[in-house]
């Protein structure tokens, strides 16, 4: 007894813009928003949100309790909920119906955050205490913000979306590196399908652009120096980006009953691990291939039904090559147009899959698969992939979105676009 799940609202924020349409337009124009990070000494690049994060949340006291990443997540969630007209609809309900509405509305978050920066609140204490733990303990109450622990909670966005909008249904906060966001969408859709909730907001947020994270990624050889060139022979790594994305999902019946504009449909998803080391990636793309197959099975689709693929395409040597292998193993020589978006605003880690899903729905609705603007010469290992620096046309209204993360994690989402606000 499976129910159809549709998308009725979206929100996104990253270096390329604070509105879905702006980010989409920048990607179509081939504009990369990756910039040089000032005040970091030698040149480092990344995707930063230029807007002061504190202005992104309505409650002026809230920024004291939140990390930068949380404010991005709350902003994107509010945009998606607003875009769906959900609160205006709830306002038309009688009190008793409002309580049921709230109890049957879920919140699913893929959470990242500046893991290192957060602990820097302890530096003034370390100035005083050095390595002396008894002094650390004694001076603690006078030196560190009493709210430190709350500000560090990975589930802050879940908590505050709940408080702000009153949603009380099934929820999850997924902390699974860069598959977190796409897995949040997948879990939200599964909860709606299974009848646990009638609707849910799915959010991914992260703020990996902090010096200590950049330092680690750099030492591991994962970062590019100039730009991200997915599937290019000369690609040299990824670049980190801050951002957030959100989708409002609900049952097709519920959306129709309230006359909501439908942006698309969630058809299915798949998740697979490669059971290797945290930093290992199988060359044959085994986990990703199985996640794609699982998503197609879940959606009841054949590979030939897929009209385009939004690849993970993070620009590192090993990930892109194994991703190409995985697409090859599922689609053979007949892969649909493939694109990727990390060249445009960086790798948003926990937020990546949600923002890229928003863009996939834009692409299907517009009938345009944007080119990978930084692509100059396709890596021979990826020669079977239909990737171009110029735009292509999708083969159908169905897209696969691919997310991969540390610990050999792979998540794939299958979506279908709606045209004119209605499902086909």
């Amino acid at each position: 007894m499976s129910r159809r799940v549709v998308v009725t609202g979206s929100g996104a924020l990253c270096a390329a813009g604070a509105h879905c349409a702006d980010i989409w337009a920048a990607a179509c124009a081939g504009h990369s928003a990756l910039t040089t990070l000032s005040d970091w000494g030698a040149s480092r690049r990344g995707g930063v949100v230029e807007i002061d994060a504190r202005t992104l949340v309505e409650d002026r006291k809230l920024p004291k309790l939140l990390r930068r990443s949380d404010m991005y997540g709350l902003y994107a969630a509010a945009r998606a909920i607003d875009d769906a007209g959900l609160i205006a609809y709830r306002d038309t309900l009688a009190d008793r119906a409002v309580a049921t509405f709230n109890d049957r509305t879920g919140v699913f978050v893929g959470a990242g955050g500046s893991a290192y920066q957060n602990q820097y609140d302890f530096f003034p204490l370390l100035d005083v205490a050095g390595d002396d733990l008894p002094t650390f303990g004694r001076e603690l109450p006078a030196t560190v913000n009493p709210m430190w622990l709350l500000r560090s909670l990975p589930n802050n966005v879940l908590c505050h979306v709940g408080i702000r909008f009153g949603f009380k249904g099934a929820n999850a906060c997924i902390t699974n590196h860069s598959v977190s966001g796409l897995l949040a969408v997948s879990e939200a859709a599964s909860a709606i399908r299974a009848g646990e909730v009638e609707r849910a907001v799915a959010i991914g947020h992260d703020a990996p652009v902090e010096p200590q994270a950049v330092l680690y990624f750099e030492r591991l050889g994962l970062l590019a120096t100039e730009c991200v060139r997915p599937f290019d022979a000369a690609r040299s790594g990824s670049l980190l980006g801050d951002g957030a994305g959100a989708l409002l999902l609900e049952t097709a019946e519920g959306a129709a009953a309230r006359g909501a504009t439908v942006l698309g449909e969630i058809l299915g998803s798949g998740c697979a691990s490669e059971a290797g080391h945290l930093l290992a990636i199988r060359e044959d793309g085994d986990g990703l291939a199985r996640a794609m197959t699982a998503a197609l099975d879940d959606a009841g689709l054949d590979a030939a039904d897929v009209g385009m693929i939004v690849a993970h395409g993070n620009g590192t040597r090993r990930s892109d090559a194994s991703e190409a292998a995985a697409i090859g193993s599922v689609f053979g020589a007949a892969a649909p147009p493939v694109t990727a978006f990390k060249w445009a605003f960086g790798h948003l880690i926990a937020a990546a899959g949600v923002v890229e899903s928003v863009l996939a729905l834009h692409a299907l609705r517009a009938g345009v698969v944007p080119g990978i603007a930084t692509l100059r010469e396709v890596d021979p290992a990826c020669a079977h992939l239909p990737v171009l620096s110029a735009a292509q046309a999708p083969r159908s209204d169905v897209a696969l979105i691919l997310s991969r993360g540390f610990a050999g994690m792979n998540v794939v989402l299958a979506v279908r676009a709606a045209h004119g606000g209605r499902l086909p």
Partner: protein, 429 residues
């Protein structure tokens, strides 16, 4: 098409009461407290100097892979050991032919680097309490890849799937103190959806380190009864004054019922229902009316298809804070009405402290054991009744009582509430 049932066929525990399930269970039945002065580091300057630490633990005694353990910090070691015990207990483990049908869902603690790494950054790249990014980025000694790996949000998940060869759905979740319960709820759904036959599901955490203890001290959430550690955690007692920080890991093997029956597995309990709600009230407090936990318990019962009066035991969240304990009791009364007084209730945090992200998973394991043995552990230290907490608490000695079905509650900072429903495998459906 009927929904697949979910069997609990393996339990593994590393807790302040013992480094395996049998020792933990025996300590619970003997009402022996795991709370003591902090021994892991010099906490003499902290306002709170007691905790429920795991004692004498060495991951190498259980996990024979030094290279893997290099990437594991203290709580990852707990997780690996508890997971190994659960798999051994279940008598089934992933093999090449079954790996893709195995899932893994974990509730993991808050991540960050440990104090040593933070001190290193502080010494070399901080001026007047502020990080100097250029100095950090120019310093070759500050980027230890092992520290980086350990600090990743899914580092524990990664170690588990690598160690045990799990190639299906794998995820890591964090909703503070509800994490372990929500992880097990998510895991059960994988079996119901038909995408896994077995799931290694649980939680692990340790915040008993200078930064973790500092965070809770700053919030004023902990009992500062430094002179009476064994009495400090007293859920539902009128004199309670905060919780006691614990650490550990709990893992269950969840298995599709038909698989478990076909291989003649011992089934501790059926994981019959999962309730999952959001309080949407305040970050740390639950609503005095019990709103939030009420929905979680109702959902759990509805999901299990169980009447409220079939519940015989509740393993309460029972943190030993005024707000939680009263709110939870109000929720139990709201959900169960006249039956509330007939449910035997205990918070095992009274003996093992609060295991934070591991709490819901460890307590689900304990609840499964209670269902299996028909023996209910005590709510220790309940001497002076709080009139606002009027339930049938198990005091003094464990209670022998056949359990048709039981609940395990876990509520977290941030407002997430998990309620797992465990049914006796032979209970009438």
């Amino acid at each position: 098409m009927t929904r697949p049932r979910v069997a609990v066929t393996g339990i593994g525990l590393v807790t302040p009461l013992g480094n395996d399930t049998a020792t933990t269970w025996a300590a619970l039945l003997g009402a022996r407290s795991g709370v003591a002065p902090v021994a892991g580091f010099d906490a003499s300057g902290f306002p709170v100097r007691i905790a429920a630490e795991v004692k004498g633990f060495d991951a190498r005694a259980v996990i024979d892979d030094r290279k893997l353990l290099k990437y594991a910090n203290r709580y990852h070691g707990f997780a690996l050991a508890a997971a190994e015990e659960a798999l051994r207990d279940a008598g089934v483990r992933p093999a090449a032919t079954t790996a893709t049908r195995w899932g893994c869902v974990v509730g993991s603690g808050m991540m960050g680097v440990d104090l040593g790494e933070l001190q290193q950054v502080h010494r070399r790249a901080v001026v007047d309490g502020a990080l100097q990014p250029a100095r950090l980025l120019a310093d070759g000694s500050l980027a230890d890849p092992v520290a980086f790996c350990r600090s990743q949000t899914n580092a524990g998940l990664g170690l588990l799937v690598q160690r045990f060869g799990i190639a299906g759905y794998a995820s890591s979740v964090h909703t503070a103190c509800a994490s372990g319960g929500q992880a097990i709820g998510t895991a059960a759904k994988l079996i119901r959806r038909g995408i896994a036959d077995h799931v290694l599901a649980g939680g692990f955490d340790s915040m008993i380190n200078p930064i973790g203890l500092a965070g809770f001290c700053l919030l004023g959430a902990l009992s500062a009864d430094n002179d009476a550690p064994e009495r400090a955690s007293r859920p539902f007692d009128a004199t309670r004054n905060g919780f006691v920080l614990g650490e550990g890991a709990g893992f269950l093997i969840l298995e599709a019922w038909t698989h478990a029956v076909a291989r003649g597995a011992r089934i501790y309990a059926e994981l019959a229902g999962d309730g999952n709600s959001l309080s949407s009230y305040r970050i740390t407090d639950s609503h005095p009316s019990g709103d939030g936990p009420i929905q979680a318990m109702r959902q759990g019962l509805a999901d299990a298809g169980i009447a409220a009066d079939a519940i015989d035991y509740l393993n309460a969240h029972g943190t030993s804070t005024l707000m939680n304990d009263r709110s939870e009791c109000a929720a139990v009364h709201a959900v169960f009405g006249a039956h509330a007084g007939r449910i035997a209730v205990s918070s095992t945090k009274s003996l093992m402290g609060h295991l934070i992200a591991a709490a819901g998973a460890v307590e689900a394991g304990i609840t499964a054991l209670a269902v299996h043995h028909g023996t209910l552990p005590v709510n220790a230290n309940l001497v002076e009744r709080d009139p606002e907490c009027d339930l049938d608490f198990i005091c003094g000695t464990p209670r022998a009582r056949p359990v048709r079905a039981a609940l395990s509650n876990a509520f977290g900072f941030g407002g997430s509430n998990s309620c797992l429903v465990l049914r006796h495998p032979e209970a009438d459906r």
